[in-house]
Structures are given as structure tokens and as C-alpha cells.
């Protein structure tokens, strides 16, 4: 009895392993990998991209595919962890992915890119904003449909020093890859600009139960505004604590904060806060159509980076059609020369991989919604 149970378990395990290994068979479809966090605490940033990929692929397949070939999606979870992202990358490569949508977090994307590069696979991210991804030249196979962090930091700093005319700025971050990177650029631009001084540069511990000490420190520093690099949970805690400690200075942040959840959680305290984010596309007919498709398919509003992912899918599929293959060099040439109409605007790509025609604008919370400042 016992032996049989063990045997069964072994047989099952072996069968499982074999079935996994033979799935990598060649076929005449074009395989598009989708990598991102689909579980864990960052899942809400990764799942909208999967939806975008599904919608675009469905649409193209119904219209007869690309050059007669149908598209197929390979969706893999990276949990935004570098070590898992490399496993996922090898899995996608061995399953025969020809282009990849993804890398949601910059860190995990950086870890996975060399593997895709060695296999000659084009990767396009809707959300990885770390400047080094394109500017270092280390990742020739990488493209993105979102502007890098330094562009955003520059915009926020110019807004604080020129438009609002502040002289003393506190720069706070959440010690994370994204937040600290953004904060360091902000600090650099403030110092280079010479119009204002950085009176405080510090990180807060994400998930902390109480931020009153750092708020008291901001108060003591005499800052006229706080520039915060990080995500909305910490931002709403800090801004609420500022109100509680009767500290009345403005709050400027990044697109990790430009999320409706920020307003939901911080409530009235969020009123008047500034945050930069991707340009408002609400008048772009393609964007309206893309959101409408999501509503009819999934019966819900699309989430973070949905439009960027949708645009990336359009840009990649268009390049495959124009290049006639999924060869990396041919795709790169097509991406650089062809202008594509997407929900984030009419875009093409520069030689480094950044999208031309995608930018940021500054928003302010007014009556519970982010309103674009012109």
C-alpha cells in the first residue's frame, strides 16, 4: 500500500516534468511572451499588461494574424524578483518566445534582459522607467513605451523651482529602486539648476507604522515643499501625517503616486498634492477605444500601465509586420523608422530604445481627481 503510493507520486512527478519539457515545440505561430508580476504585492502593476496583450492579440488574430501567422501568448509570472525573473526568462526562451512584452519592475527587467539579448529576443516594457535600461547601452534589445525617470524628475524639479518658485526643497524617498533613483535625479537637478537648495534628503522605511519623526524633521528643515520618490502607500501615509502634525507645505511626487488609490487612501489630505504622470491621453480616440475594449472584454476599468502595454503591443506587432520576421536587427530598424499610432500618441523609437512622442505632465489633485496642469 505504502509502496504503491510512493510509486504513484514518483510517476506523477516524472510525468509532470516530461510534459513540461516537451511543450517547447516549434510551430508556425508567432509567440509573444508576457513577463511581469502576476502574483504578490505588485500584481496590480503587472496584470493590466496581460489584459492589454490579450486584447491586442485577439484583435489581430481575428483579422487574420500577421503575414498569415497567428499570434500566441506565453504569460509568465516574475513576481518582480530578479532571481525569479531570470528563471522566467529562460522558460520563455526555451518555449520559443519571439518577442516579449514586459519587465514591469526595473530591477527584475535588468536581470532578465541579458538572457533575452543572448537569444536575440526583442523586449518592450510598458513600465520599467530606470534610465540605465536605455541610456547605458548595455541592453540593445530593450525598448519602452514610457518615459524614463530622469525626464520625470527634471519635470518635477522645474515645476517646483520655476512654476511654483520654491527655494527650499526636502527630497524624500522610500529606499526602493524606483523611489530612490527618482529622488537622486531630483536632487541632482535641483543642485545643477541652482535656483533652490535641497534642505533634506532622506529615505523612509516602507511599511513603517509611524512617520511622524520624519515629518517633524521636514518641519525643522524649513522646506517649502516635499518632493517624494516612491509609491502611493508611503506617499499617502506621509501626506496624512503632515496634515496631522499641522505641517502645511506642498507635496510633489512621481507617477508611482499618480494612482487613484492614492486619493482613495489619503482622502481629503491628498487635496492639492502634485504628481507627475504620463501625458493625459483622454482625448486620443485610440486610447478611448482601448479602454472601451477592456471594459467590454473584462467588464472592469483597466489598471496601471494598461495603455502603455497596449501601445507596446501595437508597436511590436507593427514592427513584426513591417520587418517580415522577428529577427532583432530587422525589428529594431522597423521600430526606429516606422511611426505608429497608439493610445499614448504617435510614437517611434530612438536608437537607445526610448519612445519619441511619449512624455509626462504634472497633475494636481482637485476635488478628488488628478487634473492635468497645462
Amino acid at each position: 500500500m505504502k509502496m504503491r503510493k510512493k510509486f504513484m507520486a514518483t510517476a506523477l512527478g516524472l510525468g509532470f516534468a516530461v510534459s513540461l519539457s516537451v511543450s517547447a515545440m516549434a510551430s508556425d505561430t508567432i509567440k509573444i511572451g508576457v513577463a511581469g508580476p502576476h502574483s504578490g504585492d505588485l500584481a496590480s502593476y503587472g496584470l493590466p499588461s496581460v489584459n492589454a496583450a490579450k486584447i491586442v492579440v485577439d484583435k489581430i488574430n481575428k483579422a487574420g494574424g500577421i503575414n498569415g501567422k497567428q499570434l500566441e501568448l506565453l504569460v509568465e509570472d516574475t513576481v518582480c524578483k530578479p532571481e525569479i525573473a531570470t528563471n522566467t526568462a529562460t522558460k520563455l526562451v526555451s518555449e520559443g518566445a519571439q518577442v516579449v512584452l514586459g519587465g514591469i519592475c526595473s530591477g527584475a527587467t535588468k536581470a532578465a534582459l541579458p538572457i533575452f539579448n543572448d537569444a536575440g529576443i526583442l523586449v518592450m516594457s510598458p513600465s520599467a522607467t530606470n534610465p540605465a535600461l536605455t541610456q547605458s547601452g548595455e541592453y540593445p534589445n530593450f525598448f519602452r513605451t514610457i518615459a524614463p525617470d530622469d525626464a520625470q524628475a527634471k519635470l518635477d524639479v522645474d515645476f517646483a523651482t520655476d512654476t511654483l518658485g520654491y527655494k527650499k526643497i526636502a527630497v524624500i524617498h522610500d529606499k526602493g529602486d524606483y523611489g530612490k533613483g527618482f529622488a537622486e535625479f531630483a536632487k541632482q537637478f535641483i543642485e545643477e539648476g541652482g535656483k533652490a537648495e535641497v534642505v533634506l534628503f532622506e529615505g523612509v522605511t516602507p511599511g513603517g507604522v509611524d512617520y511622524s519623526a520624519i515629518v517633524q524633521k521636514i518641519k525643522k528643515s524649513g522646506a517649502e515643499t516635499v518632493i517624494f520618490g516612491g509609491y502611493h502607500p508611503e506617499a499617502s501615509k506621509i501626506i496624512s501625517m503632515m496634515k496631522k502634525k499641522r505641517l502645511d507645505v506642498t507635496f510633489i511626487s512621481d507617477d508611482g503616486v499618480k494612482d487613484q488609490t492614492f486619493i482613495k487612501v489619503a482622502g481629503e489630505n491628498a487635496e492639492g498634492a502634485y504628481a507627475s504622470g504620463p501625458q493625459d491621453n483622454s482625448t486620443n480616440p485610440l486610447s478611448i477605444a482601448a479602454i472601451e475594449e477592456h471594459k467590454t472584454t473584462f467588464n472592469a476599468d483597466p489598471g496601471a500601465f494598461y495603455e502603455n502595454a497596449y501601445s507596446a503591443m501595437l508597436a511590436m506587432t507593427n514592427a513584426i509586420a513591417k520587418a517580415g520576421s522577428t529577427d532583432l536587427a530587422a525589428l529594431k530598424a522597423a521600430l526606429e523608422s516606422e511611426k505608429v499610432d497608439t493610445p499614448v500618441g504617435k510614437i517611434s523609437f530612438d536608437a537607445k530604445g526610448d519612445a519619441i512622442g511619449v512624455g509626462f505632465s504634472v497633475y494636481q489633485v482637485k476635488d478628488g481627481v488628478f487634473t492635468e496642469l497645462k
Binding site: 532622506e202 511622524s212 519623526a213 517633524q216 518641519k219 501615509k237 502634525k245 505641517l247 487612501v265
Partner: protein
């Protein structure tokens, strides 16, 4: 100079509040550890579930139009009932069968339970951060001091103090408390003198979890948001505080928490918040090197 004293006072109170927050969670840790010698990693998750239950209850009662005071009390009662039930059930499933197992096995079981509960709430509720309503209103008489210490802070400080006094009383003078101390000292001996050890351990988990629920309610309304992951970070800090004060000791848990809170606050204020946790853990290492059983812990002499 005056300005600097104000700053010192501000930091002192934010450290005190933070300490009181840690203490609410640390008390449960220290009780469970004292009685069965287990680092109950799932305790942070009980706190998180308490906060979620309070959130759900508070929202329902506010939709039904209850007055503010009733909402706080009812949400608190719900949180305590369910957290205590979770604590009781977890002990029965994950720890009781391991009573005679090797010492580290319950620890792994606790880590597994902690992972399970986090993902359970993630799947059954949401991965997003939820806005937790400010259940405690701003008192008018506190307004002149609001920039130093807020109304919520005062409520937290008072609650922690009251809980500590009640708990000390229970453990020192009541029958259950005496049984608890006996069980903690020697489980076999306690059984011999007629103490139902299983019931006492269950009682410990129920009391510890109820405290975590009160903590969940107060802390969540202090920071204004909850999600499934809040228990883990707060739990580790609270455990550190409990060890700092001498694990197993009720006043020790509170003292350790306050010292930890003040250290972090002053480290942020006078040095840099980049390294506040480094200061906290270095303090822990230092104190344990010179006083290996924590500040108020009893040094146990080892015998052959």
C-alpha cells in the same frame, strides 16, 4: 536653544507613540513565547486580520448610519472576537499537534501559517491598499498640542498603558494568570497539580490575539491604510521589542517597545532615517550582549 527643546519634545512624543504601537503587538508575542517558548510568526498576521475585520465592520456600521462612538466600539468588538477565534484555531491546527516535536518544527509551522494567512487575505479580499477610516476624531482640547501629539496618539498611549496594567493584574492575581505562570514554568508539573494545560495555552492565544486586534484597530486608524502585508513588518519590529525588554515579561515588552520607538525616532531626527532600522537592531545586539536575557528578563541559570 528653545527651538531645539521643542524639536526634542516632538521627537520624544513621536517615539513614544511608535513605542506604544509596537507594544500593542509585542504583548501578544511575549505572552505566547512566555508560555510555550514559540516565536509565533503568525501573530503579525492576526493583527492584520484584526485590522481587516475592524475595517469591514466599521464600513458596514457606518453605512448603516451608526454614531461614531458606536462604530469604534462595535468594530473593536468584532475585531477582538474574530482575531481571538483565529488565534485559537491556529493554535489548534498548527501548534498543538507539535507540542512534543523538535523545538524548531513549530517555528517553521508558524512561518507557513504566516505565509498562508497573508495569501488568504490577499485572495479573499484584495492586493490593494484600502483606506482605513479615521475612527478616532480630533479632540478639540488637543488642538493646541496637535503639532506635537495627536488625538489618536493619545488614545493609543492610554490604551497601551491600561492594557498593560490589566494584563499585569490578570497574570499576578487571577486564577488563570497563576495557572499561566505555572504552565510557563513547568508544563508537566502544572499538569500534575491539576491545571488543564491545553485550556491555559488556548487562553493565552485568545488573550494575545485580542490584544493584536485592539492594536489592529488603533494602528490602522493611526496610519489610515491597510493591506495584507502590514502584519509582517510590524510583527518583526514588535518581536524585536519584546526580546529587547526580556521576552516573557509583560512590562518588559512595553519597556522594550518604548525604548525601540524612542531610538528609532531620535535616530531619524538627529542622524538620518536611512539608518533608523540599523540603529534599532544595533541597540538590540548591544543590549543582549550585556544583558543576554533582555532588560527585564529573568536570567535563567543553566543546570545540568
Amino acid at each position: 536653544m528653545l527651538m531645539d527643546f521643542d524639536y526634542f519634545r516632538e521627537l520624544f512624543f513621536s517615539g513614544l507613540t511608535r513605542g506604544a504601537i509596537y507594544a500593542l503587538i509585542a504583548l501578544g508575542y511575549t505572552m505566547v513565547y512566555g508560555i510555550i517558548g514559540l516565536i509565533n510568526f503568525a501573530h503579525g498576521e492576526i493583527y492584520m486580520i484584526g485590522a481587516f475585520t475592524a475595517f469591514i465592520a466599521a464600513t458596514i456600521f457606518s453605512i448603516l448610519g451608526f454614531p461614531a462612538l458606536a462604530i469604534i466600539i462595535l468594530a473593536g468588538v468584532c475585531a477582538v472576537i474574530w482575531s481571538a477565534s483565529y488565534g485559537y484555531t491556529i493554535e489548534k491546527i498548527a501548534y498543538k499537534p507539535l507540542r512534543h516535536a523538535p523545538r524548531l518544527s513549530p517555528l517553521i509551522s508558524a512561518i507557513g501559517m504566516s505565509i498562508f494567512l497573508q495569501n488568504y487575505v490577499l485572495l479573499a479580499q484584495t492586493s490593494d491598499f484600502l483606506p482605513f477610516p479615521a475612527l478616532i476624531p480630533d479632540f478639540d482640547f488637543m488642538e493646541p498640542y496637535a503639532h506635537i501629539v495627536g488625538s489618536t496618539d493619545v488614545v493609543i498611549l492610554a490604551t497601551t498603558t491600561v492594557i498593560m496594567i490589566i494584563l499585569t493584574f490578570i497574570i499576578k492575581y487571577t486564577k488563570v494568570g497563576k495557572a499561566m505562570r505555572a504552565t510557563a514554568q513547568d508544563r508537566t508539573m502544572a499538569t500534575l497539580v491539576g491545571i488543564n494545560v491545553n485550556r491555559i495555552i488556548s487562553a493565552t492565544f485568545i488573550i494575545g490575539s485580542s490584544l493584536a486586534a485592539v492594536g489592529g484597530l488603533l494602528i490602522a486608524s493611526h496610519i489610515g491604510q491597510i493591506n495584507f502585508y502590514i502584519g509582517f513588518i510590524a510583527g518583526i519590529k514588535a518581536f524585536t521589542a519584546a526580546v529587547l525588554g526580556g521576552i516573557g515579561s509583560i512590562p518588559g515588552a512595553v519597556l522594550g517597545s518604548v525604548i525601540l520607538g524612542l531610538t528609532e525616532s531620535f535616530a531619524t531626527g538627529y542622524v538620518s532615517s536611512d539608518y533608523e532600522d540599523v540603529f534599532a537592531f544595533s541597540l538590540l545586539v548591544l543590549i543582549l550582549i550585556f544583558k543576554p536575557s533582555g532588560i527585564l528578563g529573568k536570567a535563567d541559570n543553566q543546570k545540568v
